[in-house]
């Protein structure tokens, strides 16, 4: 009985409680509701802004060619068709290139993040001679536009050699062009696509983790490597997931390195970049005469292709999102 009494007291009417608090409760409620409404409007607007191009792509991808020229049709197609998807898939060699892209992006991303974690941790936590100099080198790697050194890199792998060792042994340099190997080697050496950036991000993250955690582990007799794996890595999960996502996405859509090193493989990014040319050739072959594809139609096919390439990334993101949304909960000392 007394329990129930306490309960009713606790949940007294809103106005009653408002009166007791001298109007503070009402003010707080109104402010929080007003805040939510403002937030909703803002977020809705921004989401629409980001989604709008994507939505128009989706609507265009279901249109037939005649719909594209119809001034009445804006976003809902009159003649619904999935022909565009079939054509884009055929032209991009979709099923094969998506598997290729997936394997390469996944392995490269894992390799890049693993190496960058090691290096980033080294920079964040150890004092050694010439540290500043090496870190300046990292900044250099981030800042130098890959276009600048692409020609030299090309030649470098044509006549590949590590400090003249191979030439000394066999009298010849190795031709590594056209194989996937150079790119893996570059990624393992932190020189891949935006690799310096991952190092930088991970280093900044490790610097914010309290040193006491590490010192406690050392005092308890944990070795350097073990401390790193057991104590520091679990904490770094959010940033590692973000880095992995970036690495995967960038590798997936990258055109520059793919063209330079992976030209022989059919990848989604390179086939997407070539899509409008492929379409032209295809139509020409079909008609038997020299025709040009209308701009609207080729744009429509390219949009469809873009959609098909983005989709796997979105699915991946939905799965990985939890990784970097999760907060640090297993830490001994909370930050």
């Amino acid at each position: 009985m007394s329990k129930e009494k306490g309960k009713t007291k606790k949940y007294a009417g809103f106005w009653e409680r408002n009166r007791q608090s001298g109007g503070y409760l009402l003010k707080k409620e109104i402010l929080s509701y007003g805040g939510s409404i403002c937030r909703f409007i803002l977020l809705f607007g921004m989401c629409f802004m980001i989604l709008q191009p994507l939505l128009s792509k989706i609507s265009v991808s279901f249109m037939t060619e005649s719909d594209l020229y119809n001034p009445i049709v804006i976003s809902v197609p009159e003649h619904f068709t999935t022909q565009n998807y079939l054509l884009a898939a055929q032209l991009m060699n979709y099923s094969k290139s998506i598997v290729n892209s997936f394997v390469i992006s996944l392995t490269i991303a894992i390799l890049q993040v693993a190496v960058a974690t090691l290096v980033g941790y080294g920079f964040a936590r150890f004092e050694f001679p010439f540290k500043k100099f090496w870190f300046a080198c990292v900044m250099l790697v981030i800042l130098i536009p890959p276009q600048t050194i692409s020609t030299s890199l090309h030649l470098h792998f044509r006549f590949f050699d590590i400090l003249g060792i191979f030439k000394l042994l066999t009298g010849e340099t190795i031709n590594l062009r056209g194989s996937v190997l150079p790119y893996y080697m570059m990624s393992a050496g932190c020189m891949g696509l935006k690799n310096g950036l991952y190092i930088y991000m991970i280093r900044q993250f490790f610097r914010t983790i309290p040193k006491e955690l590490e010192e406690a582990a050392y005092v308890d007799g944990c070795g350097t490597l073990r401390t790193f794996v057991r104590i520091m890595l679990p904490d770094a999960k959010p940033i590692l997931t973000s880095c992995f996502l970036f690495a995967f996405v960038w590798q997936w859509t990258d055109g520059f390195y793919s063209k330079l090193f992976l030209g022989s493989q059919s990848l989604v990014s390179t086939s997407l970049a070539r899509l409008s040319d492929t379409l032209g050739a295809y139509i020409q072959r079909l008609m038997g005469t020299t025709t040009t594809v209308s701009l609207a139609y080729s744009n429509c096919i390219v949009s469809t292709g873009t959609l098909m390439i983005i989709m796997p990334l979105i699915v991946l993101y939905l799965f990985a999102q939890k990784g970097f949304v999760e907060s640090l909960s297993s830490t001994g000392i909370k930050m």
Binding site: I74, P210, P238, L245, M335
Partner: protein, 302 residues
């Protein structure tokens, strides 16, 4: 070398060695893959490059290429200053925007996962080949215009801009802000990564800190400045560096565009290398100076 070893005795020396072991992948990669192309491109900028079949010949030409870039080429200096000005304004806008969005997305509300997913899209949409395809897609541009037309009469921003313009104070500063607001899509597209970096930083601040502050009578506004800011200040540095660098390397950057045209179109490797070195050095100096200034205010948990 021996003296160095003596200086770093015991634990310190062991830590130095393990430090080197940790960063050894980078050192190896840098030595094997970076040094040579790097020096070669620097050397090329001082040369006249002649392309033959399969090989190329370098004729040393002193600083001719640099003189050409600054004093002969009609576009380069103009493009350079324009791009750098645009970069400073846009990077600033991107930082503010992404921090603001990250703060909102870190709150609890219904449909948060969905909104976060949407804000991640720019990372995909602004990457690699997709960005290039996006910019020359005329069909999409037409559709966007069609949609914009329907909302022409109820544009709040337009009215606000009009009011602020007639106020007459600081019109030039307003114009810059208006330009950013009108191009808000570009800002949003460019700030996907920054939002995620900020978000992952905000996640690491424990809620108990805010609770303690609230009990002590701290308002939300105060705890933003006293807790959130210092705790993620290191990420401001990361994001700033990233934003500037990303802006400099983007494929729609006109300087990069010019360099690529000269390199692949006119096959003038020497001149292209010289231009990219000038650009590179300026950007490097800019990043160096600005990050030095920011890093003064960064708080590390050490």
């Amino acid at each position: 070398m021996a003296r160095q070893k003596n200086k770093l005795a015991g634990l310190q020396r062991r830590k130095a060695i393990s430090g080197y072991l940790f960063i050894s992948p980078f050192i190896i990669g840098f030595l094997v893959f970076m040094i040579q192309p790097f020096i070669q491109s620097l050397y090329m900028s001082f040369c006249q490059v002649e392309i033959g079949s399969g090989i190329f010949v370098l004729h040393p030409a002193g600083i001719d290429n640099y003189i050409q870039a600054f004093r002969i080429d009609p576009e380069f200096t103009r493009l350079l200053t324009e791009e750098l000005g645009r970069m400073v304004i846009n990077s600033f806008a991107i930082m503010v925007f992404s921090f603001f969005v990250a703060l909102i997305l870190n709150q609890k509300f219904k449909g948060r996962a969905l909104v976060r997913a949407i804000f991640f899209l720019p990372v995909i949409l602004s990457s690699g080949v997709i960005l290039g395809l996006e910019t020359d897609n005329a069909l999409m541009a037409n559709l966007q215009v069609a949609i914009e037309e329907t909302t022409q009469n109820i544009s709040i921003t337009e009215t606000l801009e009009e009011i602020l313009r007639t106020a007459g104070v600081g019109t030039r500063a307003f114009e810059e802000v208006f330009q950013v607001i009108d191009n808000i899509y570009d800002v949003a597209i460019a700030s996907g990564i920054q939002i995620i970096i900020f978000l992952s930083g905000l996640q690491t601040i424990s809620a108990s800190m805010y609770e303690a502050a609230e009990i002590e009578g701290c308002t939300k506004w105060e705890s933003l400045w006293k807790i959130t800011f210092p705790m993620i200040s290191s990420l401001f540095l990361v994001n700033w560096v990233y934003t500037v660098v990303d802006f400099c390397m983007r494929s729609d950057n006109e300087v990069i565009d010019k360099i690529t045209t000269v390199m692949t179109g006119q096959l003038n490797y020497g001149f292209a290398s010289a231009m990219s070195w000038i650009y590179f050095l300026i950007v490097m100096a800019l990043v160096g100076v600005s990050s030095l200034i920011i890093s003064k205010g960064v708080y590390y948990y050490e």
